[in-house]
């Protein structure tokens, strides 16, 4: 069976990711359906102690998978913004990289 760790830790991680993911300020993340669904599911199955019940293991695995999804999307988006989100350099910037300046052409090119 998958090494999942502590259900409480998974739950905390999930709620934290939901907090990070709440895109628009104004609506608190605790009001969202996702938050309420997850908290209700954990309460219903009491997944906060060491138990071997199959339904609990299924829920915990699902929660851990969803946590992985949210966290990985957030990290991937951050990396994308950092390294791939800035677009191309302008011709002026490219010239500047090697110490050149583009010529001034008051009449326009060619």
């Amino acid at each position: 069976m998958a090494a999942l760790g502590s259900p409480l830790r998974t739950l905390r991680g999930l709620l934290r990711e939901l907090r990070y993911a709440s895109g628009r300020a104004g609506r608190p993340y605790r009001d969202t359906s996702a938050y309420q669904h997850i908290v209700a599911a954990f309460r219903a199955h009491r997944v906060t102690s060491e138990k071997l019940c199959r339904a609990q293991q299924e829920l915990h695995f699902q929660a851990a998978t969803y946590l992985c999804l949210l966290r990985s999307v957030r990290e991937h988006t951050a990396l994308h913004q950092e390294y791939h989100g800035k677009g191309e350099r302008s011709p002026e910037e490219v010239a500047g990289l090697v110490g050149f300046r583009l010529p001034q052409q008051p009449g326009g090119k060619g």
Binding site: M1, A2, A3, L4, L18, A21, S22, G23, R24, T32, S33, A34, H37, Q57, E58, F61, Q62, A64, T65, Y66, C68, L69, S72, V73, E75, H76, T77, L79, H80, E82, Y83, H84
Partner: protein, 247 residues
């Protein structure tokens, strides 16, 4: 388009005739082929709604993996039927990552043996089949009976779950690792690590390049997690309305 501006304030779900629907303000979400976006599971609808609600100024479609999976299930753009999907999935076994071994460098061969042999052993026991591994360029020789066992097993899943399973297999390049995930034998993080074993080995040897390695790692984790969650949410008998799923 890769991105567009977020054009809605509120995201909510509602229940319609065909299942759960996603509402962006007063508009109902549609698929790329303009069908009404309906999902059979409330938990899945909530997760999709969360994807849409998480978008800030721009909608980054490439991060919305659950939405994408639902669109694929609804539109079936590759026009494949259930048996075609199953055969495509099982065909992957012939080039399954965990069965395809190197002979050198010795350290990598050893790592593959230590990390991949146990998961093959698990699959062989769980499904009562022979799989094995190979260093031949042709890959492992999978007995026909093994393939038929997996075909039968996958046939027990509905069409939606199968789209998810085939997606995970394509991402991880391994049927065995995907079944390990579906059967909850390994976590997503572990499955992705095993799928990327050779990359991880090279990273240990030569160093990590954040903008390439971590980028790929996060993306693969996100996709594998989305696919796995999708399969589980589409397979639960307590939440899925069976009559809505086309087999």
């Amino acid at each position: 388009p890769l991105e567009r501006k977020r054009f809605y304030q509120n995201v909510s779900i509602s229940q319609g005739e065909g299942g759960f629907e996603i509402n962006l303000d007063h508009r109902k979400l549609k698929t790329p082929q303009a069908k009404l976006f309906t999902v059979p599971s409330e938990a899945l609808a909530i997760a999709v709604a969360t994807e849409w609600d998480s978008q800030k100024d721009t909608i980054k479609f490439y991060t919305m993996h659950l939405t994408t999976l639902c669109n694929t299930a609804l539109d079936n753009p590759t026009q494949r039927n259930k048996m075609q999907l199953i055969r495509a999935a099982v065909k992957f076994l012939e080039t399954d990552t965990v069965c395809y071994r190197v002979e050198e460098p010795a350290a990598l061969a050893e790592l593959q043996k230590n990390e991949w042999d146990p998961v093959i052993a698990w699959a062989e026991k769980r499904y009562n089949v022979a799989i094995g591994s190979s260093t031949s360029i042709l890959g492992p020789n999978i007995p026909a009976s093994t393939k038929e066992t997996f075909v039968s097993h996958l046939a027990s899943y509905n069409m939606w779950a199968l789209q998810g399973i085939e997606y995970v297999i394509t991402q991880l390049k391994s049927l065995i690792l995907s079944m390990g995930l579906i059967d909850r034998h390994i976590t997503v993080e572990k499955a992705v690590l095993l799928s990327r074993l050779e990359e991880e080995y090279q990273i240990q040897r030569w160093g990590n390049v954040e903008w390439a390695h971590d980028y790929d790692l996060c993306e693969l984790r996100a996709r594998a997690a989305a696919g796995t969650l999708f399969v589980h949410l589409c397979s639960e008998s307590s939440t899925v309305k069976h009559k809505l799923l086309q087999d």
